[in-house]
């Protein structure tokens, strides 16, 4: 649906986007993840035709943005980081104007009503946008992007500045929209991407440093051989016993958690699952396991690793994810802060 080829954007000496290539299939929800200033917005602005690339091409449904900008633009609904709202207009006037501007060929009143119901702004329909809260403005922006049912939706940080309840609502909405639209969504908030997207592209300093599903990314980055274990038993004896488990590479003490309860990190040789052995051996000695989990990284950790220049993880960023072991830990962290 969307094909981006060796896209580069320079502002004078500064390279904002550096030779980025990726494709998005029809119906896919792609997350665009990166710290502030990584080049997410620039890339989106180029795809939507707001700014031009220094090099490279963007093709949407067979049409190239520079060769046939009108055709490409008519296929895209864009919600920029700051919703482009005319504050002096009512929601009704604004949507009606955008409807005309986009030359939508649907029945105006019913189409706008439908969208207003969908994004839940019917109750502020007659109000002046200036007087709306940030959450409502964001939704009006989203409504504007949905006008004309475009095939592609591009949403730049759609939840910035919203309260947690609104964030959850908008995310739900995006998931729903994903059933009918191809979506590119950018964020510097990882839980958001984890929650809504099937695929994540991590971008830093204008370069793509990872491109995978959120699950594969976290598996590959952590190496699925690391386990964190919590055992009720004497520390040194448990340590000795764990060290003798076959294929165990190393055991690290993490210290006491409760009375006579200790944490350890286990690292097994690649391709070996030691969890059953560990359980049986500890059970033999009646040292109960209180917790055992694969210490997979959350997207947040991966993100930090990938964007940290000194980290070796950044080197092995494009992983052929091994497909075994490790309970995935669904720990969604809420970090709804703004940039």
């Amino acid at each position: 649906m969307i094909e981006v080829k060796s896209l580069t954007k320079r502002y004078g000496a500064k390279t904002a986007v550096d030779d980025i290539s990726f494709t998005v299939k029809a119906g896919e929800i792609l997350g665009f993840l990166g710290p502030n200033g990584a080049g997410k917005t620039t890339t989106m602005n180029i795809i939507t035709g707001y700014s031009s690339s220094t090099m490279g091409t963007v093709t949407v449904d067979g049409a190239e943005i520079l060769e046939d900008p009108i055709k490409v633009k008519s296929k895209i609904g864009y919600l920029p980081e700051h919703p482009p709202l005319y504050l002096d207009m009512t929601v009704k006037e604004y949507l009606s104007f955008m409807f005309d501007l986009k030359k939508v060929k649907l029945i105006k009143a019913s189409h706008i009503d439908e969208i207003c119901d969908h994004v839940k702004i019917a109750d502020v329909y007659g109000r002046i946008i200036k007087n709306l809260s940030k959450g409502y403005r964001q939704r009006v922006g989203l409504a504007q992007a949905l006008l004309g049912n475009p095939d592609v939706l591009i949403l730049d940080e759609p939840t910035v500045g919203l309260d947690p309840k609104q964030i959850i609502e908008i995310r739900k909405l995006i998931k729903e929209l994903g059933e009918k639209h191809t979506i590119i969504l950018s964020s510097h908030i990882l839980s958001e991407v984890q929650a809504a997207c099937e695929r994540v592209i991590v971008i830093n300093k204008g370069k793509i440093i990872a491109d995978d599903t959120p699950d594969n990314l976290s598996k590959a980055m952590s190496g699925d051989k690391k386990l964190t274990i919590r055992v009720d038993g004497p520390e040194s004896s448990v340590f000795d016993l764990l060290s003798k488990v076959p294929h165990m590479l190393c055991v690290d003490k993490l210290g006491m958690r409760e009375d006579s309860v200790y944490d350890f990190i286990l690292e097994a040789e690649a391709g070996h699952d030691v969890r059953r052995d560990v359980f049986l051996r500890l059970a033999e000695r009646s040292w109960p396991i209180l917790a055992l989990r694969g210490s997979e990284l959350s997207l947040e950790d991966i993100f930090l690793q990938l964007t940290d220049e000194n980290s070796p993880a950044a080197e092995q960023a494009r992983p052929d994810a091994p497909d075994s072991g490790g309970e995935s830990e669904d720990e969604t962290r809420e970090s709804g802060e703004e940039s």
Binding site: Y11, N45, T48, G49, Y50, S51, S52, I70, K71, K73, S74, I76, Y78, P80, H82, P84, L85, Y86, L87, D88, M89, E93, F97, M98, D100, L101, K102, K103, Q144
Partner: protein
């Protein structure tokens, strides 16, 4: 194009700008009309039309200052520039909205002529010639203002900038004769607004004048399109 034009028209009258523009125009137009026609017992409208030049010069920047700068400042240009609309349609839509409001203010001069007509025939051909001249010159100023507005996101800079350019074009008339370099004087004379305009006010409908003002419009509308286009590339 019509969507943008309608949006801009409603924006003029959703804010005080449209009303202030019309009110000031009517007040000063009325003042000159009263002074030069009614109180002087004259049916000659050319003095009134002549003084309109200054009013238009001062007021038009008010009309054009927000056209693009406001969009840039509030980032609404993202909606316009990512919509399936050509840049030319965008520029023309805004241009025509300003021209329509301007026409509304010019309509007052027809009223003056009708008032005169009660006492003596005002010379309708003369009046229409003047009207057309005023319209053409206003359109040229609007296109200049539109262009300056596309350069900045600050409305004040846009207003002062277009005012300065317009004023320069007028001063040129009095500066030009003092220039001793022949080719430079020729250049100055050829871009002078006032001499072309005043030719209309004495009743001459000069084709060269019409072409001149329309060319100014075309040039600045084209430049505005280029500015918008260039912004994407920089």
């Amino acid at each position: 194009m019509t969507a943008i034009m309608r949006r801009e028209l409603s924006a003029y009258f959703a804010s005080p700008i449209g009303y202030i523009f019309l009110a000031v125009f009517y007040i000063f137009g009325g003042f000159y009309f009263t002074m030069t026609c009614l109180l002087s017992n004259s049916s000659d409208l050319s003095f009134t039309f002549n003084s309109m030049f200054t009013i238009v010069l001062i007021l038009v920047p008010l009309l054009t200052m927000r056209l693009f700068s406001e969009d840039k400042k509030h980032k609404t240009d993202q909606a316009l520039l990512t919509a399936p609309v050509s840049l030319l349609a965008l520029v023309l839509g805004k241009f025509l909205a300003a021209v329509l409001v301007y026409l509304l203010s010019l309509a007052a001069t027809i009223v003056y002529a009708m008032v005169i007509a009660v006492y003596a025939p005002p010379g309708w051909a003369h009046v229409m010639g003047n009207f057309i001249a005023l319209l053409l010159m206003g359109m040229a100023f609007i296109s200049i203002g539109l262009f300056v507005s596309s350069l900045t996101e600050n409305q004040l800079i846009a207003a002062v900038g277009s005012f300065a350019i317009a004023l320069t074009l007028i001063i040129i008339d009095s500066v030009a004769p003092t220039i001793t370099v022949p080719w430079l004087r020729q250049v100055f004379m050829s871009i002078a607004f006032f001499s072309r305009y005043s030719a209309f006010t004495v009743g001459k409908l000069e084709l060269s004048g019409v072409v001149f003002f329309l060319s100014i419009c075309a040039v600045f509308l084209f430049l505005t399109v280029r500015v918008l286009d260039k912004r994407r590339w920089s």
